[in-house]
């Protein structure tokens, strides 16, 4: 099976660099799958989980923050603010963050604060979902 080059860059490190066979990404309106020789595209990514098959039958799950993916000449570059493996997720911290965000959502806020809280809540819930699925 054909492979393509994949590079996942988070804001604090290069998360993954290597070949990949299949990749499933969270687009704002649902998941999007990428195989080798995909047409050139730039895809906006929402908060969600990505899965990549780096070798036959071996899938890796990644919790992604907001960002975008770019596909040019059979090379995929993903730039996101956070990228974590399920076992790197701190469940307690995510739960606390979720509670904090829910608490804040109940209060009156400016529009800007509202969007911030909503984004924080989405990140926390995504982390929790992925870490729970693993068990």
């Amino acid at each position: 099976m054909d492979t393509f080059g994949l590079k996942i860059i988070a804001s604090d490190k290069i998360f993954y660099e290597g070949r990949c066979r299949k990749l499933i990404l969270p687009a704002p309106d649902g998941e999007i799958g990428i195989l080798a020789n995909h047409e050139n595209a730039v895809i906006a990514l929402g908060v969600g989980d990505a899965r990549l098959e780096h070798e036959e039958g071996q899938w890796v799950e990644i919790a992604l923050g907001e960002g975008f993916a770019e596909i040019v000449n059979n090379r995929v570059t993903i730039l996101v603010d956070t990228a974590e493996r399920p076992d790197e997720i701190d469940v307690h911290r995510a739960e606390e963050a979720k509670e904090r965000a829910e608490e804040r959502l109940r209060q009156k806020q400016s529009t800007q604060e509202y969007y911030q809280t909503q984004a924080a809540l989405a990140r926390a819930m995504n982390r929790l979902r992925i870490s729970q699925r693993k068990k």
């Binding site: 860059i9 988070a10 804001s11 604090d12 490190k13 290069i14 687009a27 704002p28 309106d29 999007i32 047409e39 050139n40 595209a41 730039v42 895809i43 906006a44 990514l45 907001e66 960002g67 975008f68 770019e70 040019v72 000449n73 570059t77 730039l79 603010d81 956070t82 800007q112 969007y115 911030q116």
Partner: protein, 296 residues
Amino acid sequence: MANIKEIQTRINSVKDTMKITNAMYMIASSKVKQAKKKLTDTEPYFYGMQGEIARILRHVPELEHSHFDAREDIPPDERKIGSIVVTADKGLAGAYNHNIIKLEEELLKQPGIHKLFIVGELGRHYFSKRDVEIASQFQYTVQKPTMHRARNISSVILEQFQAGELDEVYILYTRMENSMLVEAEKVKLLPLERESFNPGTLPLNMYREEIVFYPSAKSVMDIIVPHYVSGMIYGCLVEAYASEHNARMTAMKSATDSAESIIKELSIQYNRARQAAITQEITEVCSGANAQKRKK
């Protein structure tokens, strides 16, 4: 010649000061190491982001987005200019704060309605005494820059830019070229400029690859631009943090060095004074003894 006791007190006080400066030197040097590591960690993201915007603009030159709007119809003295000024929380860092403040003063002389967003306690103190508008809700420290803080700052800035409360946004920070050369620098954050991403125009006959934007070019730019701005702010904060501690380190190093040389000089003076006192005492004792001898 000063008396022995005075010199002794002075030596002790210089020694105490030296202890403090030396400790600050150690702290600053360990923080520089941390900051430098952070800087190298975030560099790929930072440059990757810049590269992506450049690439998208190169392939889709006709792309329009509100963040590229220079609002040229607004005359220079009515333009609302926001500047994010990154200073330190504390002084004792050589010319670090002074350079940033000087750069901001230059910007303030230009026409336009200025508004300051100050990161760092020292700059806030300085500019609160001056006759400029400061965003009061903008209280961030410069210690341990995080992506979270950068995101907060950029959301404030972007919101005001979109609402038309700001027409231009600059960030003033100190860039660390290497550990010997640090420089205060002014960078335009908004509106984004095509030229800064694409130095030199492309030949017309060059093959442009077609890129599909999913779901749409606008939604992709909507995500990329805020990320670019917050990434940029984060990079600047980390850079400034590293330069601050680097400046403090050098300042404290030279303070320790000069304390050492003062101590050296003072101890020579002290020894001379002591020697003179001893000599005088001996002379007194001898002459006293001589006088007693002659009496007999």
